[in-house]
Amino acid sequence: MPRIINYERPLFRGHAPFSVYDVPIALAVFALIWAFLTVGRDMTAPVLPDSGELDLAFIRLPYYALRSVARMFLAYFFSLLFTFVFGSLAAHNRTAEKVIIPTIDILQSVPILGFLAVTVNGFMSLFPGSMLGIELASIFAIFTSQVWNIVYSFFQSVRAIPRDLTDSAAVFKLTPIQRFFRLEVPFSMIGLVWNSMVSFGGGWFFLAASEAITVLGKDIRLPGLGSYLATAVEKGDFPAIGAAIAVMLLIVVLLDLAFFRPLLAWAQKFRTGDVFETEYESAVLTAIQRSTLVETFVEKVSRPFWSFLIDRLPARLAASRIGSLAGRRRRGLSITGIILLVLGGGMVFFMVGDGVVFLFQSMTLGELGVIGLSGLATMARVLATVGVASLVWVPIGTYIGMRPGLARRIRPVIQIGAAFPANLVYPLVFLLFVRAGVDLGIGAVVLMFIATQWYILFNVIVGTLTVPEDLKAAADVMRLRGFMRFRTLVLPIVFPFWVTGALTAAGGAWNASIVAEVASFGDHSMKAFGLGAYIAQATVQGDWPGIVVSIVVMCLLVVLMNRFLWRRLYRYAEEHFTLEG
């Protein structure tokens, strides 16, 4: 039964002058404003000679954490902006779709960490002498890790809007801005929130990897948790390492409680259809909704502001636009589209051509061979990672998934595990390798496994949860047990979910290889033979041709694996295991 009480509308509207919830909310608002000002001031600070030094005192940790979180949110903000601009464009314009969607598809599977050298250099030359350039490079790295699945989800949601709803938007003459805010964004809201959560989880990994890097011979340290940890590892300061990991864990948990959970609970009002789903509850959201302060703000400031922005402003400009709606439906490429394509294509062609000539002049055949072999070595590690993770987590995941109660209790643990950036614990694991005498060639698989195992576990559990109760009952009646039960009942249903998990895990493993195949702790350092290590080394040395070729090779391998392995498995799953009768 749907709820009659609606928490979106306060129960005691206009009755209480203020509520108990106002106190923590007012404090939170002040804290946010303070954080904004501080971070804003420090981000634009000039580069000083001691900018690379970080103070390992515990008292500095909250500040570093704040800087890291600010980076994450800025990147997230840009991701949303990018999504709304390019997602809308792709959804409404066929020419744009033909360019944007394939581009996203490729960028999604590209190992972003490899590009760090390129982007850091670019942004530093944009803002010479200011920390802002480096700051932006880090934010850009996080952005590129967050944005693609959010754009894609938005694009797909907008395309999936039922025709009746777009029809009624047209019949009632909604302006493009009204349609965007009243139909398209609300319709895609739940997908956006889920994908934001996934993106944030992935983003931490890149934050930790991009705050402290050595690019083209320059040591770069942005104030933040990632740099703090890197410095602590360099100095072998165990208490500081422990503290950094603990703070990170705390942030992940806090963000979940104070940001994502309320967001998810709030987004439920945008679900379509009458399907009863799990209620997502959040005490924080309830507090916000019951606060008189927030209510007053919404009614006096926010609602009139949005109403003006969405309804009044465009309505004045709208009259002329309604007539043009029909014209926009025309299929195919417009003339401007063709001109843009030709120009863009020409530019890309010449740039690539130039690059190829440059590369061939500076690359020996032997070097190319080394890169190719490294690629194969890393590919073997990626496959091994997925294989090991599957062997470990498929049985455990199905065990958990068969018990919904257990699954519900264990879910937050997995979510936090997935969001926690595995590269923060890499130095410790590496230290274990050093002590135990494990070669990094094999150890790297363990490191990659730590980073990507969650995707497989999570998907397997979700898949197992979808096994229908009546099939379970039928299996009980026929006394299917052990492996027989797994083969006939669980495997067919879980398989497609496993493919999704394995695909995501493989993508993550490629990225992780760049930070996993080279490792150092204090004076110890080790390097495995692989493409990740090659890229990492080329980045440090500023070996441009090496960077470009190795990244291109890695992208190629990722795309090939998608084409020839994962997509085939998907098709196999589609043809053989669907629950529809």
Binding site: L165, D167, A326
Partner: protein
């Protein structure tokens, strides 16, 4: 052929002359709509040469079987789709873009689930640039009028289907449209709710409580059309076109049991059944020369049941009587009678359905001999199935992908319809044991290929 013409002329005789004295609000001239028609995709016609007028003060019902392009036609009138040929005139001016004088009530309600009832109703007013206060007042008035008092703040998902459609009406009426279009507005509701809402709407319209100047309603229920409309426009399919226009001159409130009411319903049935006749006649040329029939999507169990019932009644029965007795929608019943006619198991004439000799053999047989009769009927009359058989016979391993047949059918039908046509053909062909079908791989094949027999 002359018989065919005669049937057509009889239909024309039942149609009415258009009233020229009242100004037309919306008019279409030679309106056609097709998809494809480029070098690589064949043209599939959905609407052909539709001339239509809706005048001030008219309530027009659009009646027709599924696939006759009613909804497409309404979307064109509302300016949601551009026609491939012909034009829409709004007050004599060619319509460009979304029609400014039309608002629509959707079968699926099409409410925005994240907006409250009030916000949904006010949506159109806000879009028109009305300020917040006025929009809220006007929306509240519309909500009161349609009987949703007290639900202003509810979200659509808290409402029942009937209440949701009330919101749909309030939203459409709030913007005070000149023409109110309704796409099967009551067919998503249960009978009692639909009756209730319908009579309230009629009250608003007849008592002129709303400034709406004309109403156009799509329906597949003959009774509903005669109950509400001043004019019934009957569409027919393949391609969608106007088959007849009928005037309903009865005073309101209309009494279902009255002889005049029943007579009108009989007339409409006669027209619809004659259309089916015309189609059957057209398909009585040699199989190889025929174009693809549009197979009615009849389930075979129901078809057998219908034929049994007719036999019990002495082999002939009035179709409208059957509808009342079986409590079926006219649409569904017509699909069945058409199927019987296409298969040559029964003939339709003057609103009656009569078993043929083949039909008698069918009902008298047991399960197995029924299959034999059915196989004979299918092989003798259904073009698609014959083509499928031919293709399978010549194919090397006597099996072919369904995509091949879909491609062929898509030359004659829209994509969705082609899919449904193939589903029906497969259903019939399997029952007749003419060929087999593997759903997983989507392959059609012969179970007993000819070589093995010979």
């Amino acid at each position: 052929m002359s018989e065919l013409d005669r049937a057509k002329r009889k239909i024309d005789a039942l149609s009415i002359q258009d009233r020229q004295d009242v100004p037309a609000i919306l008019q279409t001239k030679g309106l056609s709509m097709w998809f494809g028609g480029t070098s690589d995709t064949p043209r599939v016609t959905v609407l052909e040469g539709v001339d239509f007028t809706i005048r001030e003060g008219e309530f027009v019902a659009l009646l027709g079987p599924s696939g006759s392009g009613k909804t497409t036609f309404m979307r064109i009138l509302a300016g949601l789709t551009e026609p491939s040929a012909g034009e829409v005139l709004y007050h004599g001016q060619r319509l460009v873009g979304v029609n400014p004088g039309v608002s629509v009530v959707f079968q699926s309600f099409a409410l925005f689930p994240w907006m409250s009832v009030l916000e949904n109703v006010a949506m159109g007013l806000r879009a028109a640039g009305m300020n917040l206060k006025d929009a809220m007042e006007k929306a509240t008035a519309a909500i009161d009028m349609i009987g949703l008092d007290g639900f202003e703040d509810a979200l659509p998902r808290e409402l029942s289907g009937g209440m949701k459609q009330r919101v749909g009406f309030a939203r459409a009426l709030a913007v005070e449209p000149e023409v109110l279009c309704m796409d099967e507005p009551f067919s998503g509701l249960d009978v009692l709710t639909a009756d209730n809402l319908r009579s309230e709407l009629m009250d608003l319209w007849l008592e002129k409580k709303i400034p709406t100047k004309a109403i156009l309603a799509i329906t597949h229920s003959i009774e509903e059309a005669v109950m509400m409309a001043d004019k019934v426009v009957i569409f027919w399919h393949n391609p969608g076109r106007v088959a007849a226009v009928l005037k309903v001159g009865l005073p309101h409130p209309r009494e279902k049991k009255s002889p005049e009411f029943k007579k009108l319903i009989d007339q409409i049935y006669t027209i619809l059944v004659r259309q089916a006749e015309v189609e059957t006649k057209a398909s009585q040329r040699p199989l190889a020369l025929r174009k693809f029939q549009k197979l009615p999507h009849a389930r075979l169990g129901a078809l057998s049941g219908l034929l049994d019932l007719i036999q019990e009644r002495g082999g002939v029965e009035d179709i409208y009587e059957l509808e009342g007795e079986l409590n079926m929608e006219a649409d569904d019943l017509l699909e069945l009678t058409e199927a019987a006619s296409v298969l040559g198991l029964a003939v339709l004439s003057e609103g009656d359905i009569k078993l043929t000799q083949l039909g008698m053999r069918f009902v008298e047989g047991d399960i197995l001999s029924r299959k034999d009769v059915f196989r004979e009927a299918v092989a003798g009359s259904v073009v698609v199935i014959n083509q499928i058989l031919q293709a399978l016979n010549t194919a090397t391993d006597h099996s072919m992908d369904e995509e091949y047949f879909l491609d062929v059918l898509e030359n004659h039908f829209t994509e969705d319809e082609a899919y449904r046509q193939l589903q029906t053909a497969i259903d019939w062909g399997r029952y007749a044991e003419l060929f087999a079908y593997d759903e997983q791989s989507g392959v059609l094949y012969l179970e007993d290929p000819p070589e093995e027999e010979g």
